[in-house]
Amino acid sequence: MSAPSDSDNPNGSAATLPNGPGAAAILAAGVGSAMLGILALASDASPAIKSVLSFYSPAGALSGVTTIAIVVWLVTWLLLFQLWRNKEVALSRVNLAALAMLGVGFLLTFPPFMDLLQGK
């Protein structure tokens, strides 16, 4: 992914950049965070999913949870970047979605909340 750079004029030429590339990175980070939480919960709730996610058995399901979350994050980023690279997007909505997903990531990785959702 080639990042537009303002290194040639760091004092402000980037002000003319559309917000699309930034929005793509922000929303993708939210998606990656939420995916991490969702997969952590799924592996905790289901022995079958936990087994499937054990890509590297010494590290257990953590290896699959994090690998898939990273792949989803990067693919999302790439797709959104291609879609928005030259566009202005509604950043307040993107931010709201990204921060909500970041919150989901935090909540679903917190064991007491995981247990609450599973009725443990």
């Binding site: 002000a15 590339p21 922000i26 979350a69 990273i70 935090f106």
Partner: protein, 189 residues
């Protein structure tokens, strides 16, 4: 002065990568705030911009080194299953913690939370570095970008704080031991 290979790698994971990443946050947050806060125009030289690029770049590398070394080097030693009938569980931290109700929550809450939440930090920090370096001082024109960058940077700091604090406690209560002894220095006696 002797240390085992596992002790050394655990120290590198926690102190070498994780603590350094954590320490770098204060500088990063101040600089990100300074760069992104609207106010009188100030000039950021190419050298300053290069330094910010290097600083954030090193932080991103440290963040990823911390989580990968934790998950793929230290964690397998932590969660190794002891042979049946073994009574001395000191070489098997997870089993040792779970063997007593007085320590089991260090695993059930501490490690279970730490092992997942820590991965939010490199994802967030990579985004923060990308946006900050792509837009540079121009970020003052994008209020929503500033909000996202600073919020995700604080979230990364919080995730690292949780992981680092539990890592320190866990390594105190049920440390990872074993591996090849490495002699750093010979004593006189």
């Amino acid at each position: 002065m002797e240390i085992t290979s596992r002790d050394l790698l655990t120290v590198m994971h926690g102190m070498g990568f994780g603590a350094l990443f954590m320490l770098a946050f204060s500088g990063a947050l101040v600089e990100l705030y300074r760069v992104s806060t609207p106010g009188p125009p100030f000039s950021m030289s190419s050298r300053e911009h290069g330094l910010l690029r290097l600083y954030l770049g090193v932080m991103v590398v440290l963040a990823w080194l911390t989580v990968f070394s934790g998950a793929y080097l230290v964690y397998p030693w932590y969660r190794a299953t002891p042979p049946a009938g073994l009574t001395d569980l000191s070489g098997f931290p997870r089993a040792l913690l779970l063997s007593s109700p007085r320590t089991s929550e260090w695993h059930n809450l501490g490690m279970e939370w730490k092992e997942h939440v820590s991965w939010l930090a490199p994802i967030a920090m990579t985004m923060v570095a990308y946006v900050a370096l792509t837009y540079g001082r121009g970020i003052v024109q994008h209020r929503q970008l500033r909000i996202a960058v600073l919020t995700f940077a604080i979230a990364a700091f919080a995730a690292t704080g949780v992981a680092g604090a539990f890592g320190a406690f866990l390594n105190k209560i049920a440390p990872v031991h074993g591996g090849t002894p490495i002699t750093l220095m010979e004593g006189e006696r």
